[in-house]
């Protein structure tokens, strides 16, 4: 995208019918580190890559619990994401208070989208620079939505956003048809494998990713390091049958070894880990 004379204001249309500021906001989403969501009939898994500003700092929180039955993963301007998560929590708890019943995720997503749309139609505002993967339950089961800075929202079986998300999307596209009937464990494994695709060569360790699950009989919660590492161990030691045949026998074992130490070491360094 190149600079042009129609991109200064969000309230200026281009002659070809585009709002460039909104599109630039969507670019901001692509700068954030990857976030992935997948769903089956009864469960939703949200996973993300833990990116830290520097070796000294802890990584940014990208997955938030909105309610027992709704979680959100963000990519882009984390500050905007935090504000929107707070809005979602507020809407959810207000609904629970009035109706003693969980807010259907589809209705929350529409409110979120309408809130984002406002920022595309006011000269004194700017669009939110964050994409949200909202996973949650309602009467018809588990759902996964993607909310865009443009104010659009889409429902997905599986999706990935953020930098290098295309690799994850390619993986998910190959496998998504089976997700509907997947078990909880298969879904989690697929999520972690999709995360691995975005790392492109970097060894996958449990300290590098955060994984959260929610389901019909399972309130939203994060998986602890050990559980994630166990899933990683089931595929990291075996040479890949898929196209990623680059890793030899010796490397995965060494990687698994350092993963063990690296994992526990990282736990000391990054207290922000869930």
């Amino acid at each position: 995208m190149f600079r042009n004379q129609y991109d200064t204001d969000v309230t200026t249309w281009s002659p070809t019918g585009r709002l460039f500021q909104v599109e630039y906001a969507m670019e901001a989403v692509k700068q954030g580190s990857a976030a992935i969501g997948l769903r089956s009939r009864s469960h939703v898994v949200l996973a993300c890559v833990n990116k830290a500003q520097s070796e000294l700092s802890s990584h940014q929180r990208k997955i938030f619990k909105v309610d027992d039955h709704i979680g959100v993963a963000i990519a882009g301007l984390t500050a905007d994401g935090r504000v929107l998560s707070r809005y979602m929590r507020s809407e959810s708890i207000n609904h629970s208070f009035t109706y003693e019943s969980p807010l259907p995720v589809g209705r929350l997503v529409v409110r979120l989208a309408d809130k984002a749309q406002v920022c595309t139609q006011r000269s004194w505002k700017r669009p939110y620079g964050v994409g949200l993967l909202v996973g949650g339950l309602d009467e018809s089961g588990a759902h996964l939505y993607y909310n865009c800075p443009s104010g659009n929202y889409f429902e997905y079986q599986a999706f990935a956003i953020g930098s290098r998300s295309q690799a994850a999307k390619t993986y998910l596209e190959r496998r998504f048809e089976s997700f509907k009937e997947s078990s909880r464990e298969e879904l989690i494994k697929d999520a972690i494998l999709a995360i691995r695709e975005t790392l492109q060569g970097e060894t996958l360790k449990s300290s590098l990713c955060t994984v959260s699950v929610l389901g019909v009989d399972e309130p939203f919660h994060f998986l602890d390091q050990e559980s994630i590492q166990k899933v990683i161990d089931t595929f990291e030691k075996v040479p890949e049958e898929e196209e990623d045949a680059g890793e030899g026998e010796a490397e995965p074992e060494a990687a698994a070894g350092t993963a063990e130490q690296g994992g526990s070491g990282d736990q000391d360094v990054a207290p922000m880990e869930m």
């Binding site: 109706y99 259907p104 589809g106 209705r107 529409v110 009467e139 018809s140």
Partner: protein, 245 residues
């Protein structure tokens, strides 16, 4: 900083003009509602009377109404406040339907919404002078609850309002059991309504029984119960009170 002198009618407790706007006493009232859970859902009974003080003025008031697809609302107390509540619920259900997304408000949600409304009005010293009974079925689960004018709310297998609390609930405590058939449920309710007809001076002999199941709501046509007045005690009512005034 500008200072404004408050001249609104907001303070319902102290402001004399606001006084005429808030509910102080009820005028046209309905008497008891009795409701029970049964095998397929919930049964609710009420008479069709609206009293104006001690006068039985209105004899065709429907005090049980369907709310959405899943709920029944019965009310005793001020009839105009009941109509106001029906307007609130109409708007609530309408907005719920407009989402058109496969989700709908069930009886639990409606009951809690009403609890919030009643309690909020009570806090502003402007109550809706009703005791409400909310029954319904959603996804196979029956629900029966009650809210009073001060916002006290609870669920139970059988509920009654007003005089029904004193006359009908003892009968229900003894004779209600889970999985009542429709016929047994109606018989039980009629037993309660008959007692209320004999003993509650604001009851009239014109009833409606409403049923709600997974399929939907049915409110019966008005009908009367048979009564028996030939009890010995009625022949000579003061027999046991010789010598007293």
């Amino acid at each position: 900083m500008t200072f404004t002198i408050p001249i609104d009618n907001g303070d319902a407790v102290k402001n004399a003009e606001a006084d005429s706007q808030r509910t102080l006493y009820p005028y046209v009232t309905g008497t008891s509602i009795v409701a029970i859970k049964y095998k397929d859902g919930v049964l609710m009974a009420s008479d069709m009377g609206g009293s104006y003080g001690s006068t039985l003025r209105y004899k065709n008031i429907e005090r049980i109404k369907a709310i959405g697809k899943h709920s029944l609302l019965g009310a005793s107390g001020e009839i105009s406040d009941f109509q106001e509540i029906l307007r609130y619920l109409d708007e609530l259900i309408l907005n719920d339907n407009m989402w058109d997304d496969g989700n709908s408000l069930g009886p639990k949600e409606v009951h809690n919404y009403l609890t919030r409304v009643m309690y909020n009005r009570r806090n502003k010293f402007n109550p809706l002078w009703n005791t409400l009974v909310l029954g319904g079925v959603k996804k196979g689960k029956s629900y029966l609850g009650m809210v009073s004018m001060i916002g006290v709310s609870f669920e139970d297998n059988h509920v009654a309002t007003g005089f029904g609390n004193h006359l009908a609930r003892p009968i229900l405590r003894d004779e209600w059991h889970a999985d009542l058939s429709f016929e047994d449920g109606v018989k039980l309710l009629e037993k309660c309504m008959r007692v209320l007809l004999y003993r509650d001076r604001s009851a009239i002999n014109k009833f409606q029984i409403a049923k709600i199941t997974e399929e939907g709501v049915t409110i019966s046509q008005p009908y009367s119960l048979t009564t028996f007045w030939e009890f010995q005690a009625f022949h000579n009512p003061t027999a046991g009170a010789q010598g007293s005034w």
